[in-house]
Symmetry: C2
Subunit: 206 residues, 2 copies
């Protein structure tokens, strides 16, 4: 009797295995798109058991974020959303402001691709819709949760790009604590406030 | 006596002249960078008089925006800032939400270049600092004007990218009027409110 074939790598350098999974993930996401790509297909391509992919990288959205070296992972966003409501805006704002934007080739390649071709753009869109908005909204027990997360997310994403990617002077020169202090109440308003009222505004022109 | 050389084109198809100026502008900005590029150098390259460049395209920042087909020009932003303070946030928000994001090859090329190379990134940064922040801040008679414009701008830029470039479902499906209604008070707060207080937040968790 021949022994049953071994399913995937059982030994070897864990770092090599991790890198093999990341390489397989990028190729699979690029080929099949975000929604069609499965953990099983990625595991097969990497020559490992699917459980090992989950073990190393968590959910499909976390694997996508890791494979493209996203500065912030969906798991970190959820962790920030799960704490008490009192400092919610501050935690989420701080997470984005302290994220690392050091030259990440896969992340930059994804952005370039998303600007120039339709299929990469669709992949990024699905990741944001399923991996970020759906997941985060399911943790916010408020009406219009997806719209709220999209508004807060668009603001923080724009701030991240201006500060860490483009490096606009006033955004990089202003102390992180000052920005957190000014932006966190707005993020709180979007995530948990009364959207129909809008924030109270003191008009400095008068 | 030989006649004095004619300075620039005096006749011919205005559209051909406009296109020649835009081509010369892209080449000059890319070669010299935003700050070093001059209207004079662009005019020389295009074979026209500098006054013609001003006549067709206004200031250097407007020419830069036109040459790269920016969805919103600095002149339009200033116009929105110049109206009454009461509807300031609404005008600025509406300007960005109604901007046209139809496939603009020069704009997309600039973004791709800014992600992948340092000199294009520097050019985009200088344009934002000089052409947008300095100009807009000089029209806002409030303390911290550049920071305010950067915060409002980062939010609107992120919203524009999410809605018109990536096309995230909830952002495209939500009525423009609804988004204006929710976002405009936040933009008003950033541009003219009391930043040290933060907006009043109604906590929907309680």
């Amino acid at each position: 009797v021949t022994p049953a074939p071994r399913r995937g790598r059982r030994c070897g350098d864990p770092e090599v295995t991790r890198q093999a999974i990341l390489t397989a993930a990028r190729a699979t996401f690029a080929g099949a798109g975000y929604e069609q790509a499965t953990i099983r297909a990625i595991a097969t391509r990497a020559g490992v058991d699917p459980s090992l992919v989950h073990h190393y990288f968590g959910s499909k959205e976390d694997l996508f974020a890791s494979a493209h070296q996203y500065p912030v992972s969906p798991a970190e966003i959820l962790e920030a959303l799960e704490g008490g409501a009192g400092t919610l805006g501050e935690r989420v704002t701080r997470l984005l402001l302290e994220a690392d934007a050091k030259g990440s080739e896969p992340f930059e390649a994804l952005i370039r691709a998303a600007v120039s071709n339709q299929s990469a753009r669709r992949m990024l869109r699905s990741f944001i819709e399923r991996g970020v908005l759906d997941t985060a909204a399911s943790h916010l027990a408020v009406p219009d949760a997806r719209l709220r997360v999209a508004l807060a997310g668009s603001h923080l994403m724009g701030l991240f790009v201006m500060r860490r990617v483009i490096g606009v002077d006033i955004a990089t020169a202003t102390d992180t604590e000052r920005i957190v202090q000014v932006v966190a109440p707005v993020i709180d308003h979007y995530l948990t406030g009364d959207l129909s009222r809008g924030p109270a505004v003191v008009d400095a022109f008068n």
